[in-house]
Symmetry: C2
């Protein structure tokens, strides 16, 4: 038993258009973004599935970060493919196509070693699969999840079941409002806290995040960037930084540790959006993150007086 | 000569629909919101024009706050009337009707006393009128302005002339991007800094503000509210708190004074949106502002470690 993280999510190829250009079948997927970010802090065990088309270079992105990929099944067929575009509003992707491929029949199986991970992150996948993972883990210290509009619309009762079993949720602002029918993020956060999670992180794209825990809000903007090349993966990177940082802290977490975790998440996400795919973060060293964190703190520091 | 503020802007009747309801011909106008907020800090001299329909109760809103209204002309005709609605997105008003009425032929005339005010705020009005005011003031310490899409589209060269003469601009995010053709607020702020103002405040509704000064950003969210009744006047209230606070500081301002000014602006604006019209702020005492400012600081306080 150790402060390892097990993550279940997608390893994918993405076809993406943004105002900065278009990329065909570039590496993506929530488990990839999450694992690259969280592996800066601790050992990460990845669970997912890829097809026979998945390249060695692509699996090496995780291996190079010391991520255990023995939980990534390689099966006949093609890897999950997502196609999306961002237009004026870089905060919101428009999905053009989703080809589940090998993901369609995916049944996660956690090894005995994986099941002892103290931290669990259920990335944005079918809530039924998220629940199957929760049945296989052995009393983790801390469980967090993500979800999206598609699951809220089609499998809301399963989403709610997941929420009743997790410690934290990280969710996009529009999806938080959709889930709760609340008119804004503030009331959405309060409503979600009644569904189970004690820690609610609402992700707001360039407007940063809103953390709600124990009745208190902590709200900050994103790190200011002049150019955003591709927002894809920013939320999963945030989650990776958030979970990675917390895995090094004493549990139960202090409120300020969770605040710091959000700041690491934000700063890590700011690197992701500077390039397509995992280009900017796959080899990013922690000291660059720390340097930008210092800059970020200057941007949000309140005068003492 | 003293730390008085002269403000030129509208005194208006607004017809407003929001998800919370509809109000017909309720008191509004940039000069009203600005003056009520800034009068918490210093003496304010209001310049504007109203028609014969303008009620005594309405002018008393300013008089009760000690605002000098000798610069408000009362002329034959009807008071400026704006009609707008807010739908899903409370950050952006949809204008349904603008009746300039007595504002159409308005020529501002500053008294000798007004012209010696050390602080000047040019609220969102015709940039030609803003320029006429600047010709009548006597070497003020600090000039700030606002503007809007309508003037950027129809009188851009006058807007740019105003910008070349002011110390600060407070402008909505979408309008900052429209003015500069920048893809986001970060680059818009940098572009605007090349047009004259040394202090740029980009107002982002519920997402707060972005301050850019001397190459540095300071970005914070709005004060979190569960219910926003009517966003009208939030920006002018922000400007009032901002200018009012600065009027008490030593000039040239320290960077942290401008940061604090933005925080007062944000907190004051959070009261304005809690009710229609000036309902929440017209009798608001400074100690309630200070109390909420403390709460706001807790929401944005970064852990020390």
């Amino acid at each position: 038993m150790s402060s390892e993280i097990v993550v279940i999510g997608s390893l994918a190829y993405d076809t993406i258009s943004t105002p900065s250009g278009k990329k065909d079948r570039t590496l993506g997927g929530s488990a990839n973004y999450f694992s690259v970010a969280s592996s800066l802090f601790t050992k990460v065990n990845a669970v997912g599935v890829v097809g026979e088309d998945y390249g060695d270079n692509d699996i090496n992105v995780l291996k190079n970060r010391g991520v255990d990929v023995s939980g990534v099944q390689i099966v006949p067929g093609k890897t999950f493919h997502w196609e999306g575009k961002y237009e004026g509003d870089l905060n919101e992707a428009v999905t053009l196509a989703t080809e589940l491929n090998v993901f369609a029949d995916f049944k996660p199986q956690l090894s005995k070693e994986y099941s002892k991970s103290e931290f669990v992150f259920l990335a944005n996948i079918d809530p039924e699969i998220q629940l199957e993972v929760l049945e296989q883990v052995d009393k983790p210290k801390f469980i967090a999840c993500d979800t999206m509009n598609f699951w809220i619309e089609t499998k809301k009762s399963d989403v709610l079941k997941v929420l009743s079993k997790v410690d934290a949720i990280l969710i996009n602002e529009t999806e938080a409002m959709m889930l709760t029918k609340a008119p804004n993020a503030v009331s959405a956060a309060k409503e979600i806290s009644k569904l189970g999670p004690k820690i609610i992180v609402i992700k707001r794209g360039e407007y940063g995040f809103m953390l709600f825990q124990e009745g208190n809000f902590f709200i900050l903007p994103a790190f200011p960037l002049e150019t955003i090349v591709d927002p894809t993966g920013a939320g999963d990177t945030f989650a990776g930084g958030f979970m990675g940082y917390l895995s090094k802290m004493n549990h139960p977490f202090k409120e300020e540790d969770v605040r710091s975790a959000c700041m690491y998440g934000t700063v890590l996400a700011s690197f992701t959006v500077e390039d397509f795919s995992l280009g900017r973060i796959k080899n990013l060293p922690l000291d660059q993150v720390e340097t930008r964190l210092k800059e970020y703190k200057k941007v949000v520091t309140v005068p003492k007086a």
